[in-house]
Amino acid sequence: MQIIRRLVQIFASIAVNSAFLLGQPLPNKVYQGPLKQICSPGLNCYACPYAVAACPIGSLQNFIGYGAYHFSVYIGGFLLLFGAGFGRLICGWICPFGLFQDLLHKIPTPKFKFFRPLGYLRWAALIGLVLLIPYLLGEPAYCRYICPAGALEGGIPFGIFSSQVRAMIGTMYFIKLGILVIFLAGSVLTFRFFCRTACPLGLIYGFFNRIAALGLSFNPDRCTDCGICAEVCPMELRPEKGEYLTGSCIRCLKCRDACPQGCFKFGFAKFKDKSQANVS
């Protein structure tokens, strides 16, 4: 299953950044196709020259900051659709920046456990930078001050290939590159460091993890408390204690693959029965 997951991640990352297949050979301008009215499910900056879809977090901030109603039912609908349909399965299987972090974590260095209180920073990112500051000051604060996907997918290619952008580079550009380096270094040392500390999209999808249409279920009657699922969980959860239902599980399905008793079942919501869903 892990090979399939990696293939899906690679395919999805190429699919949402496939403008080079649509007649844009050089990454020195933004792709302007009709697909940009659709949101990509994962965190993928629309300033990436090859991005073919809009970033849901960037678009939401634009509507909150500059929209007539300071909200968008359209973007809200996409977030609800992806969240209710898949929950954080999107983080584990679709998100391009998630794939990048997964690959970075394979670099052989000493690895560290995640300091869990840092997870509350995601709330600050969502409430403060994505909702409040855009509403009060009319600027996309998350994109401007935090988002490393923008620096990686947009800042670096434009800095190299666009002379116009190169002429405008100032201090903020290098501050954002510094933030990118911090998150990348964190992801080498700790699994999915950015997702766990600063991703508002993962936080939103996490609200739906318990009820998502496509998800994971657990049969406690088969469980022998061997603890193998907790050992293999890269997010340092205890799936057998019900933590697979929390917003931290990215549905990598390593617990399902490792469980010798076959306690975990992956499928659509209709396959869950009540006795399995009530574990917490």
Partner: protein, 59 residues
């Protein structure tokens, strides 16, 4: 004693009981269609067509 079977809206349309999450998905589709009626899809596209200078660290 005669008891009346509770009416589910999903029975009317789909002739079977739906998992609540599918009602959320239907709500999401309604929101997206509502957004299209409000022309928010075009605004989203226009926003995404311009190079987001904040995103790449130029501001």
């Amino acid at each position: 004693m005669h008891t009346r079977k509770p009416l589910r809206i999903s029975y009317l349309f789909f002739k079977k009981k739906l998992h609540p999450v599918f009602l959320l998905i239907i709500l999401a589709v309604v929101l997206i269609v509502w957004g299209i009626v409000l022309n928010e899809h075009a605004v989203t596209q226009r926003n995404a067509h311009y190079l987001c200078l904040e995103c790449i660290g130029i501001s």
